[in-house]
């Protein structure tokens, strides 16, 4: 047994055992399962439900609501390890991480009982909708508005690029309350069940091969009971911030898993493919880029773990900077790993059989969503470095 820094300082035995168990589950499905699902237009339900039954999807949620009682760290381990076997579950970023966290921390008792057990065991899924046609990077521009009507709320607006609306039992919609006319964002969050009248969605044709799809959402005077508002009307901003760190750390885990998967395929290929006398992996032009990818993935993983540790320790502010940096670094490392892997395989890098080419687009998602690379650089420029704002 080896006693590395990882083992002693960062990862407890339980976390390593979780990693091993999730990886074994992922391997039993494998990349082929995932790409078959995409080709046949199916969801990766078998894997999702098996992971749910083993308690992997809800590791971060409170035990009294059926979760594992652990933290974001463990949840990120699950997503990263599944991704590393070629089976990333995108909805983990929204369902247990954002929605589960927001409800567990701010939901009413009724909301927790209604949703958390299902989110924890995977029998229920929740999507998350904040992006609007005119409010992507600039979420201050959100115009989806809720107004009171007796004891109910009427919610109207449009959302775009919302993942998994079709398979989610509900979508957590970020709107604002009507009296918030000060120009400042005063968000409030609503749980909108899929079948609610006035809630409609249309699939966006994305050039991505993933089982989960993105949707435009139309909310047209959607009548919601008072109990659909998450927590308290004035706590919206806090709720939103509570969901952001898990979202960033999980996006990092998504990119890391994908990068690790691509790198593993490439290394195996470089070890065995022989063009001249030695396997191509002996050429430094092939080996060095792969080594660089490994270094960058490892560094990004370390930052993601730091962010998760800070978040789990209750330091939302401290976690913010680390989570942004981790998301940035993991997205870059993940995209670079896929790019390098494709090139390492030559023509085979673009065949369906090796399944890497489709990752070229998928690996770009981490650079764009949930916040783009530029918005993170903006954040670090003025928040961390204290430089003046450009906008």
């Amino acid at each position: 047994m080896s006693f590395t820094f990882d083992h002693v300082s960062l990862e407890s035995e339980e976390r390593r055992e979780l990693r091993a168990s999730v990886a074994a589950l992922g391997r039993s499905f494998g990349r082929r399962y995932f790409t078959d699902c995409v080709r046949e237009g199916r969801q990766t339900d078998e894997l999702w439900h098996k992971a749910g039954a083993l308690g992997f999807l809800g590791v971060n949620l409170p035990q009294e609501y059926g979760g594992g009682g652990a933290g974001l760290y463990e949840l990120a381990v699950v997503l990263e390890e599944l991704g590393a076997t070629g089976c990333p579950l995108l909805l983990m970023v929204v369902s247990p991480a954002i929605c589960g966290t927001v409800l567990a921390r701010f939901g009413t008792e009724e909301q927790k009982q209604r949703w958390l057990p299902g989110l924890a065991d995977g029998s229920a899924r929740m999507a998350f909708g904040i992006t609007e046609p005119d409010a992507g990077s600039n979420s201050h521009r959100i115009t989806t508005t809720a107004r009171r009507d007796g004891g109910d709320w009427l919610l109207s607006g449009r959302k775009v690029f919302i993942s998994g609306v079709d398979i989610a039992d509900a979508t957590l919609i970020v709107g604002r309350t009507e009296d918030a006319r000060t120009g400042k964002l005063k968000p409030c969050l609503f749980v909108v069940e899929r079948g609610t009248p006035g809630f409609e969605f249309r699939q966006i044709a994305m050039d991505l091969s993933a089982p989960e799809k993105q949707f435009q959402v139309f909310l047209d005077d959607v009548r919601l009971p008072a109990g659909a508002l998450v927590g308290d009307e004035d706590a919206g901003l806090l709720q939103l911030f509570a969901g952001l760190n898990p979202e960033r750390v999980m996006t990092a885990a998504f990119s890391l898993g994908m990068g690790r998967y691509a790198l593993e395929v490439a290394v195996e290929y470089a070890r065995t493919r022989q063009v001249w006398r030695e396997p191509i992996g002996a050429h430094q032009a092939i080996a060095h880029p792969l080594a660089k990818c490994r270094i960058e993935l490892e560094l990004a993983a370390l930052m993601a773990r730091k962010a998760a540790v800070l978040y789990d320790a209750g330091d939302d502010m401290g976690a913010g900077e680390a989570a942004n940096m981790a998301k940035y670094a993991a997205a870059e490392a993940g995209a670079a790993a896929v790019d390098t892997a494709v090139h390492t395989l030559g023509g085979n890098g673009l065949t369906e059989e090796y399944g890497l080419a489709s990752l070229l687009t998928a690996s770009r998602v981490g650079r764009i969503a949930p916040v783009s690379r530029e918005m993170i650089l903006n954040f670090v420029s003025h928040h961390t470095l204290g430089l003046p704002k450009s906008y």
């Binding site: 047994m1 080896s2 035995e13 339980e14 055992e17 979780l18 168990s21 074994a24 589950l25 039993s28 039954a53 083993l54 308690g55 992997f56 590791v59 594992g68 652990a70 463990e74 022989q274």
Partner: protein, 262 residues
């Protein structure tokens, strides 16, 4: 009374690693990470299923092995759902062969108390496959080995053994020893709850003296066989790749015929 199930499991070097012999020609455990023998996971799985089907059962996993066999071996079985562990660890055990190991296991199983002992079909390192039979003999109880299906009811263990030419249905009265094959059903993955619970489950550590075993009956000295020498298998040479340019089938046949495979 509750059904007492004992599962014998082995801590082995990862079969996917680059395994070697140590200088004294015993298994080199330092070079490769160790883990619970994959074939024993099937035994744990069957024990769990038997336990789940009975009202009242307790599963003890027993291992004879080095220090790490607890955390990196037994722990896995406990996180899959076994109730408690017994770890026989003693420097004098180094180099034991299957005769020595079966002696120690028999004493350990008796120490625990048992109605049913479940073993894997073989270990992934030694691959002797005779331990279950030796164990049953030492315990003086029936053995029903190499089962692909197993169940317990009314004081009996029943099972199915799939042979090349026939399928046997077997039964024995308890107490008994069974071994199960890798066809007995996929072993479960440790759940998150199982992983968290495993750390709190009791593991009893025993030395040879606790079991009343003389040290000279086990270890390298007590082994019935001695390994005189071991040579690494020569590295595999690069294979021949037949490129199919219309003549692929013929080339393949020629290749096989040349080596007298067809």
């Amino acid at each position: 009374m509750s059904l007492r199930i004992v599962v014998c499991v082995k801590y082995v070097p990862d079969a996917t690693g680059d395994r070697h012999f140590a200088e004294d020609l015993t298994t080199d455990r330092d070079a490769v990470d160790g883990l619970l023998s994959e074939l024993d996971e099937y035994a744990v799985e069957q024990a769990l299923q038997i336990s789940e089907a009975s009202d009242d059962a307790e599963i003890t996993v027993v291992t004879v092995g080095p220090e790490e066999a607890n955390k990196d071996g037994l722990r896995k079985a406990l996180s899959m759902g076994a109730d408690k562990g017994v770890h026989v660890v003693d420097d004098a055990l180094h180099g034991s062969d299957v005769m020595g190991t079966s002696l120690v296991l028999a004493k350990a199983v008796e120490h625990v108390g048992y109605d049913l002992v479940v073993c894997g079909m073989a270990s992934t390192d030694g691959t002797m496959g005779v331990l279950p039979a030796l164990l049953a003999e030492r315990l003086g109880v029936p053995q029903v080995t190499l089962l692909s299906e197993v169940a317990v009811a009314d004081g009996q263990v029943t099972g199915r053994r799939d042979g090349d030419t026939a399928t046997e249905r077997l039964a024995a009265s308890l107490p008994a020893v069974v071994s199960v094959t890798d066809q007995s059903g996929e072993a479960r993955y440790p759940s998150f709850k199982g992983i968290m619970a495993a750390k709190k489950k009791p593991v009893e550590e025993l030395q040879l003296s606790d079991l009343g075993i003389e040290a000279d009956l086990v270890g390298l000295g007590g082994a019935w066989t001695a390994v005189d020498s071991a040579d690494a298998r020569p590295a595999r040479t690069a294979g021949t790749i037949v490129k199919d340019e219309g003549e692929g089938g013929k080339q393949l046949a020629a290749f096989l015929a040349e080596r007298k495979f067809i």
